[in-house]
Symmetry: C2
Subunit: 344 residues, 2 copies
């Protein structure tokens, strides 16, 4: 089959690899209907050490179950399924607590002998815990919105839930990528009183306003911080950081209100950051967030997608075939595409 591999910065190729097969009785084999490129895929696209064997790519996909192992009971051949970006058993204590990203037996796509979603098919371990069947056909117009439940919608929602957004909360979202925009939608769904979106791409911030942003701040750094203070007096109760680079972290520290929360869902491209008296400690700021256990949120978010009351799939502004995926990476990297849907 055809699958996407990355070999170094900017070097994305679609190559032939052996077809995946069922290996253990809890596996399912899923033919990919739609995958996509994630903002977090751009981190290795910028900085991965070149490697001759390459790394398989993709962690968001929706597909049709082609085969199942003997111990799989909750999905059947022919089911259309959503695959969260982490696979998990669904039964351990962490899964039961809703932290499937820390599942005792789970893992992430593209590690060990598990491939990625930017391919024609994927072997899915722990299929019962991982996959969520949905009652739609593979040509449904709901597919893009359902695909956001693999990662970006659940990730935006996680950011808002971890920050305990509710009615009365003022929120700043840093980053106008798909996660940032869906964090806006999530904050709106949780009742946030005011949502300031910091982003500088008008087509994206326009979508952010459609999702519920009440204010747009295009400035960045000190200027952006000053603008949020001008709007709010003291910053906002919650800041959702949906970028992952240090300047975004610093911006978050700059716009959070004393006693407030910074919730990070952009994968940090740094290990150390300011957390001392002058940044977090003095004003009693809470820092939270992490990889979203999106599996935990699908039950909650799926009904709104199925009944059409929300349309998170609007973050996709381009659709390409798998063989053109290198163009998809390039266009997302140079910001001419917001999020690219991939049709194998």
């Amino acid at each position: 089959m055809r699958a996407t591999y990355m070999y170094g910065p900017g070097d994305v190729r679609v190559i032939d690899v052996p077809d995946p097969t069922i290996r253990t009785p809890t596996d399912a084999l899923v033919r990919v209907v739609r995958a996509c490129v994630c903002g977090s895929d751009l981190h290795p696209y910028h900085s991965m050490p070149p490697t001759p064997q390459g790394s398989s790519m993709g962690h968001e996909f929706i597909g049709v179950v082609e085969d199942i192992g003997g111990d799989v009971h909750t999905v059947r051949k022919g089911d259309l399924v959503i695959a969260p970006f982490a696979w998990s058993d669904g039964t351990c204590d962490f899964c039961r607590e809703g932290l499937q990203t820390s599942c005792r037996h789970g893992g992430f796509w593209n590690s060990g002998d598990v491939g990625g979603g930017q391919a024609e098919a994927v072997r899915v371990p722990l299929a019962d815990g991982t996959l969520v069947p949905v009652p739609v056909e593979e040509d449904s117009p709901l597919i893009p919105s359902l695909l956001t439940l693999s990662d970006v919608y659940g990730t935006g929602y996680h950011a808002a839930v971890r920050a305990r957004v509710d009615a009365g909360t003022t929120v700043t979202v840093i980053g106008d990528g798909a996660v940032g925009l869906l964090a806006v939608l999530s904050a709106e769904q949780l009742g946030a009183q005011r949502i300031i979106l910091m982003g500088r791409h008008k087509d994206r911030t326009d979508l952010g306003q459609e999702f519920g942003a009440t204010d747009i701040v295009a400035e960045r750094g000190a200027e952006g911080i000053a603008k949020v203070h001008e709007l709010t007096g003291d910053g906002t109760h919650v800041v959702i950081e949906a970028v992952g680079h240090m300047p975004a972290y610093q911006q978050a520290v700059g716009v959070v209100r004393p006693g407030g929360v910074i919730s990070r869902v952009g994968v940090p491209q740094y290990e150390n950051a300011p957390v001392g008296f002058d940044s977090l400690f003095g004003p009693n700021i809470t820092l939270t967030g992490g990889p979203a256990p999106v599996r935990a949120y699908i039950d909650r978010l799926l009904p709104g997608v199925l009944d059409g009351s929300v349309d998170p799939g609007k973050v996709f502004d381009r659709e390409i075939g798998l063989d053109a995926i290198a163009d998809g990476y390039r266009d997302m990297d140079n910001r001419t595409a917001l999020k690219v849907l991939v049709r194998p």
Copy 2:
């Protein structure tokens, strides 16, 4: 009057200074009945830049109101009052939210023209918002416990509240100083299921057990982390860091359970710390805490002190006169005293 000043590392002196006076109508003048030395006073005791004019010291005191300004209405001459370690107006939005350490008009002792508590008397700004009168005499045996409401008890309680300790929570407390021990007491009061105290001074950890610690871990660093994992499997839901040095932070990261909370109340002696994928982000750890708005907790904690159901004053294991305060600093620094009560 006599007041304590610090001039550099290890250099604490009691000197004569002008008597404080009422300066604005919202001031009160308080004669100090008991003050004490704080673990956080040891940070400048180790590392303050030498300064010829010195810095006044002390931020915990209980005293008798000697005089009030014309706009003071909630305390009267002769009242015995608790002074929280931050003064605050009690009326701004932050005070109403219970974050008096961020009061719009408040501040901290020993800054600007406001002196410190390790002295015979203190001018208290914003007396109505700051001082809490208590119905006891100045020779009451309750005085040491009441004095802990100035800082260490409220600070331990803040750590537990910010970490949302409740029934079913497992907690590790790092640090067997007064704040750590009173964090144990606070976690116990909030219903924690298990409380592991990390400390290596037996007299202190014995008191910790009396306050509710279920396990003691004397080891530190990697050994201490391994011990907590041996006891718990995955670490504890909550880690209260009551020290402020980087090794304690690293220990906290090492013993917190995925999805858990590190709550800091030790004043950080660092600005940057690990917060990236490998420390906080990957396992969805929340970092919280800061200077405790102890004023907010006095109403909640005072009844238990007054009716004797808790005795946080047990953290005081020495009482000295003001002129001997340099000995008090020395003894706390070399750990021969846990917490020193000062009688001006």
